[in-house]
């Protein structure tokens, strides 16, 4: 249903035709690449006489991936780093699939891991073609040609020229079937603290995010969505909204009521005037307390068996000592600084979109389906994103399809920029799910852990992913991440899962399933240590297999945190470890009592993430991961009152500020292993490290997140 369109359509008249002429291509993106017809040895490299462009198949959302990927290519090309630019890849899963996802997309901390070998080959192939072109032109043997910092050189003849000079000639050289990347010992860029490519734009306010992207005749829209999850529009009155100056149209879409206006402020004002009666018949109406009661009850009952090794039931029955504890973690919003947004321009038989696109493959399919178009009629221009932490990687493309639904109600050719407010973001669901955990451990007479049973109660995220077969035998693989394969030797171990249905929408959130499972497991290990009067570090060493990569990390954090040294009575340390995307982390949190409150003073952190491409970028990800985890651990919490989120903005959804920031002493383990993930690895062990430090300081169990009750 559309209201106001007929009266106001005149406002749009005539603008469609002007767009064809007035529309300028964005600087980034595939179209800009194609314009100069550069040397394109493969999908990742474009070399023109004026410079080198690396095509990034991964979304830049702050993690520095564009700089990292470009470094790998520039290394193999022996290019001059100062002449490297990066462009976002177009949608083309054939060329740009993520090998872990089997589709084009960014997530799971696997961008460098999945691209490293591919980009080394791509760079080496391009280099070989450039060398061959130079050999032909100079009539010298290719083996005598070298490239250094972008200059191709033949020493004997004294010939030299910039790499880009051979762009055209190299286009005629066949690509080598087996490119030969450099030996790691010859790396000049990889492993160095190279500055980020995106800093100059970001310190001048010049970087164009989706919120800043403009097109001629573009209109702005905001959406009023129901307060309760699963509710629908019953009836609405748009008269007052339509009377708001600047408001052009009010549109009912599947997710709510959209207000379209000339400016964002006018759209917001119009939205304030909407009168909507919500139909709550299918809405989730339970509050947090009811959900908590239901989850606690489920935790006492056997769930679907995700893993059973040995015989934990008999071990628990026979053990002289058993230890039982329960843990809980709340719903969390992603709250990235740039709230969700999307620019759409729909034509009769095609559609273009501009936004921070995290899943180009899936998003394009969803948009095409919403418009009943073949996917190749949908063009996505990926813009840098102001954070994501998982939110933009929507399996249903929720915010993208919603923007398309609004565009469907507008005349063809009118671009619309749909902007979420902070309240829309915090109350909008797609949260990290709340969880409840019960752990039961069997301990031998000599204090050794035989094993544990871990029961998880958490909503399924995989159920929302439109890929059949992800959930098998009632087991969502996302729900059990890290709990299915604890790093410890547990002769008897069982993992059970309950996946209760709740109307609240849930999504991956930086570190996904590990964010709650590692909290429960690592707090439980400390509880076992306390009950059996063992040092938590010594117990972990005892439980870890001899060849575990954690031993080296534990040695580092023990030494640097002063684990074995005496400390004042007002301070305590807490340890926790975790894995993610092939990487390993050990955190020691130091907590200090200040009056009636407490403060996290310091993190001592060791990370093994394989080969470090750029220590500066990796450190930034680990530091940022610690702050993200600490923000959630201290105060992150979405609670529901009769199904309505009780937090709506940064005044009620408290996040970490500069005043709360601990010192971070970070150690990256040198490694020759292939690079593994760094975006999420630091997050999940933060909360248990702090909780364990608090438990040690207070002599009290600390079982529920957030920890704000314990901290000033």
């Amino acid at each position: 249903m559309t209201t106001g369109e007929i009266d106001r359509r005149g406002l749009f008249k005539g603008v469609g035709a002007a767009l064809v002429i007035g529309f300028a291509l964005p600087v980034r993106g595939a179209a800009a690449l194609a314009a100069a017809e550069p040397f394109a040895p493969n999908a990742f490299i474009r070399i023109s006489p004026t410079g080198i462009t690396i095509v990034s198949k991964h979304l830049e959302m702050g993690q520095g991936i564009e700089t990292g990927l470009a470094m790998v290519v520039a290394e193999e090309l022996d290019a001059n780093w100062t002449r490297i630019k990066v462009a976002a890849a177009p949608v083309n899963p054939q060329h740009y699939a993520n090998p872990v996802m089997h589709d084009q997309g960014t997530g799971g901390s696997n961008s460098m891991m999945g691209s490293y070998a591919e980009l080394r080959d791509a760079g080496a192939a391009a280099r070989a073609m450039i060398v061959q072109a130079a050999a032909l032109q100079w009539d010298v043997p290719a083996a005598e040609i070298g490239i250094e910092r972008g200059v191709v050189r033949h020493v004997a003849s004294g010939k030299k020229a910039r790499l880009e000079t051979f762009a055209q000639a190299a286009g005629a050289i066949p690509a080598p079937s087996k490119p030969v990347p450099k030996a790691a010992s010859d790396f000049r860029l990889v492993g160095q603290n190279v500055h980020r490519l995106d800093t100059p734009g970001k310190i001048r306010g010049a970087t164009i995010f989706t919120a800043d992207f403009d097109l001629p005749n573009m209109v702005r829209a905001v959406v009023r969505r129901p307060p309760r999850f699963g509710a629908r529009v019953g009836s609405f009155d748009a008269a007052a909204a339509l009377a708001t100056p600047g408001v052009l149209q009010v549109v009912q879409i599947p997710t709510g009521i959209a207000v379209v206006a000339r400016t964002h402020w006018a759209a917001l004002q119009g939205r304030e005037s909407l009168q909507i009666a919500w139909d709550d018949r299918d809405a989730e109406q339970r509050g947090s307390e009811e959900l908590d009661v239901a989850f606690r009850a489920l935790a006492q009952r056997p769930g679907s068996v995700a893993r059973a090794q040995g015989d934990i039931a008999s071990a628990l029955a026979a053990a002289p000592t058993t230890i039982t504890a329960e843990y809980g973690a709340p719903y969390l919003a992603h709250a990235m600084m740039e709230p969700l947004n999307c620019v759409v321009r729909r034509e009769d038989r095609s559609c273009e979109l501009w936004y921070g696109c995290q899943f180009p493959g899936g998003d394009r399919r969803h948009v095409a389906a919403a418009l009943n178009l073949p996917p190749d009629r949908v063009t996505i221009h990926t813009l840098p994103a102001g954070g994501s932490f998982g939110r933009r990687g929507s399996f249903t493309a929720d915010f993208v399809v919603e923007a398309v639904e609004i565009a469907k109600a507008l005349p063809p050719g009118i671009p619309v920029s749909v902007q979420w407010t902070r309240e829309d973001d915090i109350t909008g669901g797609c949260y990290r799910p709340m969880s409840r955990h019960r752990l039961d451990a069997a301990v031998d007479a000599d204090g050794r852990l035989r094993g544990w049973r871990h029961r998880i109660v958490v909503q399924s995220i995989a159920e929302t992913i439109p890929i059949p077969g992800l959930v098998k035998n009632g087991i969502d693989p996302i729900s059990i991440r890290n709990a299915i394969d604890p790093p410890y030797d547990l002769p008897d171990m069982a993992l059970e899962l309950h996946s209760p249905k709740v109307g609240v929408t849930v999504m991956p959130w930086r570190s996904v399933g590990s964010s709650y499972n590692v909290f429960a497991m690592e707090c439980f290990v400390d509880l076992i240590a306390r009950r059996t009067k063992q040092d938590p570090l010594a117990l972990r060493r005892l439980m870890l297999p001899a060849k575990s990569r954690f031993h080296a990390l534990l040695a580092v954090v023990a030494e640097r945190s002063g684990w074995h040294r005496p400390r004042p009575a007002d301070r305590a340390l807490g340890l926790a470890i975790s894995t993610w995307a092939g990487s390993y982390v050990a955190h020691v949190a130091e907590v200090r009592r200040i009056g009636e409150g407490y403060r996290v003073e310091r993190f001592t952190t060791a990370v093994d993430c394989g080969r470090v491409i750029n220590p500066n970028l990796v450190s930034a990800q680990i530091e940022g991961g610690i702050m993200f985890g600490l923000s959630a651990a201290l105060s992150g919490e979405i609670t529901l009152d009769k199904g309505v989120p009780e937090q709506s903005n940064f005044d009620s959804y408290k996040v970490l500020r500069i005043t709360d920031v601990p010192l971070v002493d970070l150690h990256l383990t040198p490694s020759e292993e292939p690079p593994s993930g760094v975006g999420e690895i630091a997050v999940s062990a933060v909360a248990p490290a702090v909780a364990n430090a608090l438990a040690a300081l207070l002599g009290l169990p600390v079982n529920d997140l957030p920890l704000k009750g314990f901290l000033t």
């Binding site: 959302m61 702050g62 993690q63 520095g64 500055h195 980020r196 995106d198 800093t199 100059p200 734009g201 970001k202 310190i203 001048r204 306010g205 010049a206 970087t207 164009i208 995010f209 919120a211 800043d212 403009d214 702005r220 100056p245 400016t263 964002h264 402020w265 709250a335 990235m336 600084m337 740039e338 709230p339 840098p384 994103a385 102001g386 954070g387 932490f389 902007q419 902070r422 309240e423 500066n616 970028l617 930034a620 530091e623 940022g624 991961g625 610690i626 702050m627 993200f628 923000s631 903005n649 940064f650 005044d651 996040v655 970490l656 500020r657 500069i658 005043t659 920031v661 010192l663 971070v664």
Partner: protein
Amino acid sequence: MEIRVNGKLRSVPDDGGTPLLWVLRDTLKLTGTKFGCGIAQCGACTVLVDGQPIRSCITPVESVGTSPVTTIEGLSGREADAIRAAWTSIDVPQCGYCQSGQIVSATALLSGVRNPDDPEIDSAMAGNICRCGTYSRIRAAIKSAAASLSTPA
């Protein structure tokens, strides 16, 4: 209505109650100043009015009059240069969305306090949220910029 932005008098058609943020972004296309919360909680919209940092998301444009408004695009001078140089050498930004506000707040701090200590940095920067967690680098960069300003060139 007229407002003075980055040294220029600009005529804007907006209603006087419109927050300065949206006049800057939608009308004047100065999009370096960001929308983050709309209730002066996050600092992404920070600009200088008469040299003082304010949250443009809750500041009606009519309340500014023709006082000089400085946005990230127009931020210049010794302190701004020192802040940007430190931000670059320490690689402060990650996603960068909050950084316009961080840099405006940090520049205002250095314009008033030559060598800020930790409590002064806390008090000047506590209103600027960064969800990427660049806070340690922001603190280090402010100290580095302050040190560079106190060293004779």
